[in-house]
C-alpha cells in the first residue's frame, strides 16, 4: 500500500524540458558533421556517456558512473541460445549494436540514480572506487599474470589465468562498508554486473575438464598460439586477412556451440582456445556477414576492439606479442575524446538547469496510480533469457521494483540505462527523457506496461544457459565414462577441488597434488611438533582442524559429504581468496610484510628506528600486523594462507584458548624462542627458528577475568618478538584494541563486492549441482550482508531440501535469512523519513523496528530532524506542510508522554507504543525528502547545559539564601538579572573606584568571586558576551585583587564535598567539617561543644572574635589559590 494515498497526494508538477532534447540533437549533429558517419555512431554512445559525465560534474550531483562491459555475456547468450526465433531476434537487434563496439559503456545517469544519490554523501567515494577499480583491472591482471608467468612460464595451464581472475571478480578491492544501508545503490550495481560473472564462470566450467586433457595434449598449445597471433596479423593487413580470421574463428565457434558430444580430442583442440576469445571472435564473424562494403572503418574498429579485448584477456605470451599493437590502438581512442569535451562545454549552465528541473520533477513524481489493477501474466520459464530491459518512468499497475523482479524472474536482465544491448525499453508515465531519446536513436523497441505483459505471455520459454551448461557437463561426463570408465571416477572427484586452484604452481603439480598437500601438512605438523606447548590438547585441536580445512585433497577418499562447504571450499591458495587479488590488497600487503619481516627487524636493530610515517606503506617498522574487518570475509584464511605461501608454520591462539597475561607469558613467550625439531633433523638448525608465525585470532575477544592483562602482555610480546605476529579482530575501533593498533601494521579487510562473491558462489553451487539463478544468488549474498561464510551456510541449508532454487524461492529464503544488521542512528533517522522505493515495501513492523535499533536515541533523532524533512504529502503547500509538522510534533509529544510512563514506572512493555508515536507516525506524516544529513540531537547537549546551569543556580541560591530567603526559581528569574546589573554597574561607571561597592554588595550577599562569574555566565543571552566580560581588564584585575585582599566570611563551608568524602566513616556533620577545616581534631564530646561556638561563627551579624580567628587561620593557610580550589568542589 502506498501511504501517500492517505495524505492527499497533490499531482506533482512534471516539467519536461524539451530543451534538453534539442540540445542533445544539436550535439549529435555537430559531431556527425565533424566526423565520419560511422565513427560518429560510435562516438555518440561514448559521448553520451561522457556528456552525462560532464553534466554530472557540473551539476554537482555526485553521480556514479559505471563503465562496464556487457558484450561478453551477451554474445555468449546468443551463442548458447538454441531457440531459433529468439536467436533471430537477438541477432537482428544486437547486430547493429555489436557492429560498432563490443565494449559498451553503461552509464548510470538516470533519474533513479538521482533518487539514490540525493541523500548520500558517500557517493563520491563510491564513484572513485568503482571507476578506478574498473580501470585498474588490466593493471592488476597484468601484474598477476607476470608473476605467474615468471614462476612457470610454459605451463599449459597458462591458458586459464584470466578466467581465474574473472572467476573471482577483478574489480576494485576497496569498497564502502555500509552495504546494507546503501542497498539501493547495490541494486543498481547488481543490475549492471549481473550475469557476466556467471557467464564467465560457466565458461570456466566448460573449460576446466578440458584443462585436464590439455595437460596431456602437447599439441594444444600450438593450436592456441596461432589462434592468438592471428588477430595480430589481421591488424597489420586488416582488410585482407580479415576473412581468414573469420574463418578460423567461425570454425572454432561452430565446434563449441553446435556439438558437445563430438569426439573428445577434436573438441578439446577446438575449444581449448579460451572460450571468451572464441566468443569474441565469433561476434564479428557472424555479424560482419551483412556488412556493407563501405563500412570498412567499422570493421577496422571492430578488429581493434577485439584485439584489445583479447590482449587483456589472453595469456602473457600473447600479451607481450600484442603489446605493440595495443599501443597503436590506444592513441586512436584517445583522439576521440577531446572532441567530445569540446562539443559539450558551452551548454554547461543550461544542462545544469535542465538537469535540476528534471531532478525536481523526479522528486515529486508520484507512485503507480492503479496499483494491482492488472493481472500479472504467467510466462514460460526463462522466456526472457538473454534479453535486456530498461525501465523508465512509473508503471500504472505495478511498482517498478515489482516489474524488475518480474523480468528477472523470467531470466531477463534489467539495466539502468539504455545501451546498444538493450532489447526493450519499458516506458511508463513521466519517463526519463534521455532514455527515450537514446532508445529511439538506437532503435530499441519501446514497450509500455501492457506490452511487457504481452511479451511475457507470448514469448516462448527456453532452457536457461546454466541448464545447458549443466547438461553439457553431464554429457561430457557420460562420454568420458564411455571412453574411460575406470578413469573418470577419481578424475571427476579431483575436478571439484582442483577447479579453484588455477594458480600455476598448484595446478601444475596436480597429478601428485595429494602428495604435495600431504607434504605440506607434514611440514606444518612437524613444525608444530617442534613447539613445546604445555597445553598440548589445546594446540592439537586447531591443528587437526587446519589440516582438514586446508587440505581437501586428503579427505577425498572418505568422500566430501562430511565437510561443511565452508571448509570444503576454503581457498587453498592466496590467489583464490575472494576479494584479495589486488596488488594493494590486504593479503598481498601482508605477504610482502611477512616476507620482509626478518630483514626489516634485523635492519631495525642496527639502525635507528625509521619514522613511522615514512614506512607506513609496507609496515616495515611494525613487528605485528592487525587484520580487522567484518566476520566472514576471510581474515583467518588469509593469514594462514599467507603463512603457507611464505613457508612459515604458524601457531594459532584464538578465543578458545586462555590468553591471560600469565598464560600468554608462559605459552607464547616460550614458544617464540623455540627451535623447530625439523631443523635439527635436517641439520640446518639456527639458534632460534625463524620460520614460524604467531597468529592471535579474535584479539577483541580477549576480555574478562580469563584473559586479564592479556592485551598488555600481547603488546609487550610484540615489542620484543623475534617472530612475526598476526593479530585479528573485528572492530579495530574497539577501546580494547585501540592500544594495540599503535604497534601493528593496520590492514583493514572490507566486505567483498557482491559480484566478487557471486562468481565463486555460483561455481560452488554448480559443483554441488545446485541450480540457482544468478539474480537469486544476488539476493542471497545481499541478505547475508556479503558475509561469504554466511552465504555458504545458507546455501547448504537451503539445498538440503532440493537441488534447485527458483528466483522466487531464493528471494523468499534470502529475506528470511536476512542478517539483522544494526543501523547507526543517523541512518535510522534518514530511513524513518525516506520516501520512495526504499521504504515503499517496508511493513509497519519494519518501520517500528527502525525505532528499536536504539530506542533511547531514535526518538531524539526523529525529533531533531523532522523539521528538516520536506514532506511529499504537502506537495509544496506551506499550509499543508505546517499542518503536517504540527501533527508530527503532536505525535512526538505523545511519544514523550509514553516515554515518561516507561521510565518512571519501568513499564517497558510500552516501548512498541512509543515506537509508533515517536518514530513511525512522524515518519509517515513527514515522509519525504530529507534535505541534509541527519543532525545529531541537540537535546542532549542542551539538557546537560541546563543541568549545569541548574547546579550553578542552586549553588548561588544556597550562597545567597540567608539574605534573599528566595527559592531557586525566584533567584533565577528575579534576582539574578538585577543583581548582575547592580554588581557590574559600579565597575562600568566608576571603574576601579567602583570596586569597593561591588565587593561590599558581594559580601552582603555572601557571594564569592566565582559566583560572580557564574552569574555572568547564566545571565548572558543568545551567546552575547556578558557586561562583565566587556569590562576593562584593569578594572577586572583591580576587582579581583580587592576581593582577594580581605578575607571574606561565608556562612557556608567551602570544602564540603572533599572533606565529607574523606570522612566517610565518621558521622558527618557540618560542624565537624568546620572543625576539621581548622585542623582541630576533636573527640565527640568536644564536638558537642563546638556546635554552639561554630553556630556563632557562621552567624552573620555578630562576629565573635574567636571563631573568626579559626576561619582566618584557614584562609591564610590556603592562601590565594584557595579561590580556585573552591570551585572544584
Amino acid at each position: 500500500m502506498d501511504i501517500r494515498k492517505f495524505f492527499g497526494v497533490l499531482p506533482a508538477d512534471k516539467k519536461h524540458d524539451h530543451e534538453s532534447v534539442k540540445k542533445n540533437e544539436k550535439i549529435k549533429n555537430r559531431e556527425t558533421t565533424s566526423n565520419g558517419k560511422q565513427k560518429a555512431k560510435e562516438i555518440k554512445v561514448k559521448s553520451s556517456s561522457n556528456e552525462d559525465d560532464s553534466k554530472q560534474k557540473q551539476a554537482n550531483k555526485k553521480k556514479r558512473i559505471i563503465y562496464d562491459s556487457d558484450s561478453e555475456e551477451e554474445t555468449q547468450s546468443v551463442k548458447k541460445s538454441k531457440n531459433p526465433p529468439d536467436r533471430k531476434a537477438s541477432s537482428s537487434k544486437p547486430d547493429k549494436v555489436l557492429k560498432q563496439d563490443p565494449v559498451v559503456y553503461v552509464s548510470e545517469t538516470d533519474e533513479e540514480d538521482d533518487s539514490v544519490n540525493k541523500n548520500s554523501s558517500r557517493k563520491p567515494k563510491e564513484n572513485g572506487t568503482s571507476s578506478s577499480g574498473r580501470q585498474g583491472t588490466p593493471g592488476i591482471q597484468k601484474s598477476d599474470l607476470k608473476t605467474q608467468s615468471k614462476s612457470k612460464p610454459v605451463s599449459p595451464v597458462k591458458l586459464t589465468p584470466t578466467s581465474v581472475l574473472d572467476y573471482f571478480g577483478t574489480g576494485s578491492v576497496q569498497r564502502s562498508e555500509k552495504k546494507l544501508v546503501a542497498s539501493k545503490r547495490k541494486e543498481l550495481e547488481r543490475q549492471l554486473h549481473e550475469d557476466e560473472e556467471f557467464a564467465r564462470t560457466l565458461a570456466m566450467l566448460d573449460e576446466t575438464p578440458k584443462k585436464k586433457k590439455a595437460r596431456k595434449d602437447p599439441e594444444e598449445k600450438q593450436i592456441v598460439l596461432p589462434a592468438k597471433t592471428s588477430p595480430n596479423t589481421t591488424e597489420k593487413h586488416k582488410p585482407s586477412s580479415k576473412g581468414k580470421t573469420e574463418n578460423s574463428t567461425d570454425d572454432t565457434h561452430s565446434f563449441t556451440a553446435k556439438d558437445q558430444t563430438k569426439s573428445e580430442s577434436k573438441r578439446t583442440s577446438c575449444s581449448n582456445p579460451e572460450s571468451s576469445v572464441s566468443k569474441d571472435r565469433k561476434d564479428p564473424a557472424s555479424k560482419t556477414l551483412p556488412v556493407k562494403p563501405s563500412s570498412k572503418l567499422v570493421a577496422m574498429k571492430q578488429q581493434e576492439e577485439n584485439n584489445k579485448k583479447e590482449k587483456t584477456t589472453l595469456d602473457p605470451a600473447a600479451r607481450e606479442k600484442t603489446a605493440s599493437k595495443e599501443e597503436k590502438a590506444t592513441p586512436k581512442k584517445e583522439k576521440v575524446s577531446p572532441q567530445k569535451f569540446e562539443s559539450i562545454s558551452p551548454e554547461d549552465s543550461e544542462k545544469k538547469r535542465v538537469n535540476y528541473q528534471a531532478y525536481r520533477s523526479f522528486l515529486n513524481r508520484e507512485g503507480p496510480r492503479a496499483l494491482g489493477s492488472k493481472e500479472i501474466p504467467q510466462g514460460a520459464e526463462n522466456c526472457f533469457e538473454g534479453l535486456t530491459f530498461v525501465i523508465t518512468g512509473v508503471m500504472e499497475s505495478i511498482e517498478r521494483d515489482e516489474a524488475k523482479s518480474l523480468i528477472e524472474r523470467y531470466g531477463g536482465k534489467v539495466t539502468g540505462n539504455v545501451s546498444k544491448k538493450t532489447n526493450y525499453l519499458i516506458m511508463g508515465r513521466d519517463s526519463g527523457q534521455s532514455k527515450c531519446e537514446k532508445a529511439s536513436s538506437l532503435g530499441t523497441k519501446i514497450l509500455d506496461e501492457d506490452g511487457l505483459f504481452n511479451l511475457i505471455r507470448t514469448t516462448a520459454g527456453k532452457k536457461s544457459k546454466y541448464e545447458l551448461a549443466a547438461e553439457a557437463e553431464a554429457k561430457k561426463a557420460k562420454s568420458k565414462l564411455d571412453k574411460t570408465p575406470q578413469k573418470t571416477e577419481p578424475e571427476k572427484r579431483k575436478i571439484s577441488p582442483a577447479k579453484r586452484e588455477t594458480d600455476p604452481k598448484k595446478s601444475n603439480s596436480t597429478p601428485d597434488k595429494g602428495e604435495a598437500y600431504k607434504s605440506v601438512t607434514k611440514e606444518t605438523t612437524e613444525a608444530r611438533k617442534g613447539l613445546h606447548f604445555k597445553q598440548e590438547a589445546v594446540e592439537k585441536k586447531p591443528a587437526a582442524k587446519d589440516e582438514a580445512c586446508l587440505v581437501p585433497a586428503t579427505s577425498k577418499g572418505s568422500g566430501d559429504g562430511g565437510l561443511l562447504w565452508v571448509d570444503k571450499y576454503r581457498p587453498t591458495s592466496l590467489r583464490t581468496i575472494i576479494g584479495q587479488q589486488g596488488d594493494q590488497s590486504c593479503a598481498n600487503k601482508l605477504l610482502r610484510w611477512l616476507r620482509n619481516w626478518h630483514r626489516n627487524t634485523s635492519l631495525e636493530d642496527k639502525q635507528a628506528k625509521p619514522g613511522k610515517f615514512g614506512s607506513k606503506d609496507d609496515g616495515a617498522s611494525f613487528k605485528a600486523a592487525l587484520l580487522s574487518g567484518p566476520p566472514g570475509v576471510g581474515k583467518t584464511t588469509t593469514a594462514s594462507l599467507v603463512c603457507e605461501e611464505v613457508g612459515y608454520s604458524y601457531v594459532e591462539l584464538n578465543a578458545s584458548d586462555t590468553r591471560s597475561k600469565k598464560s600468554l607469558k608462559e605459552v607464547v613467550a616460550e614458544s617464540l624462542n623455540n627451535t623447530s625439531i625439523k631443523d635439527f633433523c635436517t641439520g640446518t638448525s639456527h639458534s632460534v627458528s625463524i620460520k614460524h608465525v604467531l597468529i592471535m585470532d579474535e584479539v577483541d575477544g580477549m576480555a574478562g577475568n580469563e584473559d586479564r592483562g592479556g592485551m598488555q602482555e600481547l603488546i609487550g610480546l610484540i615489542k620484543h618478538t623475534k617472530i612475526p605476529i598476526i593479530c585479528m579482530c573485528n572492530d579495530r575501533n574497539h577501546p580494547k584494541i585501540r592500544s594495540l593498533v599503535h604497534y601493528c601494521l593496520d590492514l583493514r579487510f572490507h566486505r567483498p563486492r557482491v559480484e566478487q562473491i557471486k562468481g565463486a558462489m555460483l561455481s560452488i553451487a554448480f559443483k554441488e549441482k545446485l541450480k540457482i539463478p544468478p539474480p537469486a544468488m544476488n539476493e542471497i549474498i545481499l541478505a547475508a550482508n556479503q558475509d561469504i561464510r554466511q552465504v555458504l551456510h545458507n546455501l547448504t541449508m537451503w539445498c538440503v531440501k532440493n537441488k534447485s532454487l527458483t528466483y522466487d524461492e531464493a528471494k523468499a529464503d534470502a529475506i528470511k535469512a536476512k542478517k539483522d544488521t544494526k543501523l547507526c542512528p543517523f541512518d535510522v533517522a534518514r530511513k524513518v523519513f525516506a520516501a520512495g522505493e526504499e521504504t515503499a515495501h517496508m511493513s509497519f513492523i519494519d518501520k517500528s523496528d527502525l525505532f528499536f535499533h536504539d530506542y533511547s536515541l531514535a526518538p531524539l533523532f526523529v525529533q531533531e530532524n523532522y523539521v528538516h524533512v520536506k514532506p511529499a504529502a504537502a506537495g509544496g503547500n506551506m499550509k499543508k506542510h505546517l499542518m503536517l509538522l504540527s501533527r508530527a510534533a503532536d505525535s512526538i509529544c505523545d511519544g514523550d508522554l509514553v516515554d515518561r510512563q516507561i521510565r518512571s514506572k519501568q513499564n517497558w512493555s510500552l516501548l512498541p507504543t512509543q515506537a509508533i508515536y515517536s518514530s513511525v507516525l512522524p515518519g509517515e506524516l513527514m515522509r519525504g525528502y530529507l534535505a541534509q544529513f541527519p543532525n545529531f540531537p541537540s537535546w542532549l547537549g542542551k539538557f546537560s547545559s541546563t543541568m549545569k546551569h541548574d547546579r550553578i543556580i542552586q549553588e548561588l541560591t544556597m550562597h545567597m539564601s540567608l539574605r534573599t530567603l528566595a527559592s531557586k526559581r525566584a533567584v533565577n528569574l528575579e534576582y539574578l538579572p538585577y543583581l548582575r546589573d547592580a554588581l557590574v554597574r559600579p565597575l562600568t561607571c566608576l571603574g576601579t573606584d567602583g570596586v569597593q561597592d561591588t565587593v561590599a554588595l558581594m559580601d552582603s550577599y555572601c557571594l564569592m568571586r566565582e559566583d560572580v562569574e557564574s552569574i555572568m555566565e547564566i545571565s548572558s543571552w543568545g551567546g552575547k558576551p556578558s557586561a562583565f566580560s566587556k569590562l576593562d581588564p584593569k578594572v577586572k584585575s583591580a576587582f579581583t585583587r580587592a576581593y582577594n585582599k580581605e578575607a571574606h566570611l561565608t556562612p557556608y563551608s567551602l570544602h564540603v564535598v572533599k572533606i565529607s568524602k574523606r570522612q566517610a566513616g565518621f558521622r558527618v556533620d557540618s560542624e565537624l567539617n568546620e572543625e576539621l577545616n581548622a585542623d582541630e581534631v576533636q573527640s565527640d564530646e568536644n564536638e558537642q561543644d563546638a556546635i554552639e561556638t561554630d553556630a556563632m561563627i557562621k552567624q552573620k551579624k555578630a562576629k565573635p572574635s574567636k571563631p573568626s580567628k579559626a576561619v582566618k587561620n584557614e584562609e591564610s593557610r590556603k592562601g590565594k589559590g584557595k579561590g580556585k580550589g573552591k570551585k572544584k568542589d
Binding site: V867, K879, S961, P977, L1001, I1018, G1022, Y1052, S1060, A1102
Partner: protein, 356 residues
C-alpha cells in the same frame, strides 16, 4: 549594602506591610504557644517566606535569626550519598528536599526523622518542639510526599512542619488535610504602590505615584520584583520620571522576541529558529510553564477573537501535557508548530475571504 528588596524586609509580624489581619491571626496562633503544621502557599513575591521568618521570630525570639548553612550528607539505602544543604538556627531547620532531585524521599525520611526524633534540650526556656521548614513542597515527588505523611503525625510532639509552596495543586490531599493551610495572596496593586512609596521614603527619594502604579502592574503584583525594578529604575534615572522605562529582565525580552518571531513568519525554517530560542530559554532554567505562558500572552495580542480562544485552549493543553511528559522542548515546539499551522490557515482563509 544590599538590594532594597532585602534591606527593607520586615522582621516582625507586627511590621508587615500588607495582609495585616492575616498577620495578626498568625501572631495570635503563635501566642497560644502551639500550632499545627502549616502549609503556606501563594504566588512568588507575596511574602510567604518573610511571614514564616517573622512567625519563627515571634515563636523563638531573635535567636532564630542566627542562621547557618550546613551541608548534610545522607546515605540512601542504596549506599548512594546525597548531599544537601540546609539552613538552620538553633530552633529550626530549613531544607529544600527537591534539591536532591529524585532522592528527595530519602532526604525526607532520613533527615527529617533524625531532626524530629531528637528532643529539645532546654524545654524550659524554649518551646518543646522544633520547626522544620520545607520549601518548594510542590516540587516534591509523590514518593517523598507519601514519606512525609506518616512522619508528620508520628513526631508531632517534637516537631512542627511548615511547608512552603506556590501552589497546593501538586501537594497530595493527605498532606493538605494534615496542615493548616495559610494562603498568602499576592499584594494588590495598591499594596505594592504603598510599599514602594514607603521604601522610597526610607531611602530618601521622591517617588511619583504613576511610576509606582506602572511598576506594580508590570511586576505582576510580585513585590520582590517590583522592588527590584524600582531600584533598577532608580539607578537608571533619578529623579524619577513617571513615564520612564522600566528595565525588564533579559529573559522576558528574549521570550517576547521569540513570540514575535512566531507571529511574523510561519515556515519550517522559522520553527527551527524558534526551537533554538526555546532551547536557549530552557538552558537558562526558565521554567517551561513560564515560557508557554509568556508565549501565549504575546501571541494572544496578535490573534483575533475567535482564534484567541482556540490558542488559549491549545496552550493549556500543551502545558498540561508538558507536566506529564519528560522533555519540555517537545511540547513547547509542538505548541509553536500547532500555532503556526493554525495561524497560517487562519491568515490564508482570511485572505481568501477578502478576495471574494
Amino acid at each position: 549594602m544590599s538590594l532594597w528588596a532585602d534591606k527593607h524586609r520586615p522582621s516582625a509580624l507586627s511590621k508587615v506591610d500588607f495582609h495585616r489581619e492575616q498577620a495578626t491571626q498568625l501572631r495570635n496562633l503563635v501566642q497560644c504557644g502551639d500550632f499545627p503544621h502549616l502549609l503556606v502557599y501563594g504566588p512568588s513575591g507575596s511574602g510567604k517566606k518573610t511571614r514564616i521568618m517573622c512567625l519563627l521570630r515571634e515563636l523563638y525570639g531573635a535567636g532564630v535569626e542566627k542562621l547557618r548553612i550546613e551541608h548534610q550528607s545522607i546515605t540512601a539505602p542504596s549506599k548512594k550519598k546525597i548531599e544537601i544543604s540546609t539552613i538552620a538556627s538553633n530552633y529550626h531547620l530549613e531544607v529544600n528536599p527537591s534539591d536532591a532531585g529524585n532522592n528527595d524521599r530519602v532526604v525526607i525520611q532520613e533527615l527529617l526523622k533524625t531532626v524530629a526524633q531528637s528532643q529539645q534540650l532546654e524545654t524550659s526556656t524554649q518551646r518543646d518542639f522544633k520547626v522544620v521548614l520545607l520549601t518548594e513542597v510542590d516540587k516534591l515527588t509523590k514518593d517523598a510526599q507519601h514519606a512525609l505523611r506518616r512522619t508528620m503525625e508520628k513526631y508531632m510532639a517534637t516537631c512542627r512542619l511548615i511547608l512552603c509552596c506556590n501552589s497546593t495543586s501538586k501537594v497530595i490531599a493527605p498532606i493538605r488535610s494534615r496542615c493548616l493551610a495559610v494562603r498568602v495572596p499576592a499584594p494588590s496593586i495598591e499594596d505594592v504602590c504603598h510599599v514602594l512609596s514607603s521604601v522610597c521614603k526610607k531611602e530618601g527619594l521622591i517617588f511619583p505615584q504613576d511610576l509606582a502604579r506602572r511598576i506594580a502592574e508590570k511586576s505582576g503584583r510580585n513585590l520582590r520584583k517590583a522592588l527590584l525594578m524600582c531600584e533598577a529604575c532608580r539607578v537608571q534615572q533619578y529623579p524619577f520620571a513617571s513615564d520612564q522605562d522600566i528595565p525588564e529582565t533579559d529573559w522576558e525580552v528574549y521570550l517576547r522576541e521569540t513570540a514575535n518571531a512566531v507571529v511574523s513568519q510561519q515556515t519550517p525554517q522559522r520553527l527551527l529558529e524558534v526551537r533554538g530560542r526555546l532551547y536557549e530559554l530552557l538552558t537558562h532554567c526558565i521554567p517551561p510553564e513560564i515560557i508557554i505562558k509568556g508565549l501565549l500572552s504575546e501571541l494572544l495580542n496578535n490573534c483575533d477573537g475567535q482564534l484567541k480562544g482556540e490558542v488559549a485552549q491549545m496552550a493549556a493543553y500543551y502545558e498540561h501535557r508538558l507536566q506529564l511528559g519528560n522533555k519540555a522542548i517537545y511540547h513547547l515546539e509542538a505548541f509553536v508548530a500547532k500555532f503556526m499551522a493554525l495561524y497560517k490557515k487562519f491568515m490564508e482563509d482570511g485572505l481568501e475571504a477578502m478576495m471574494f
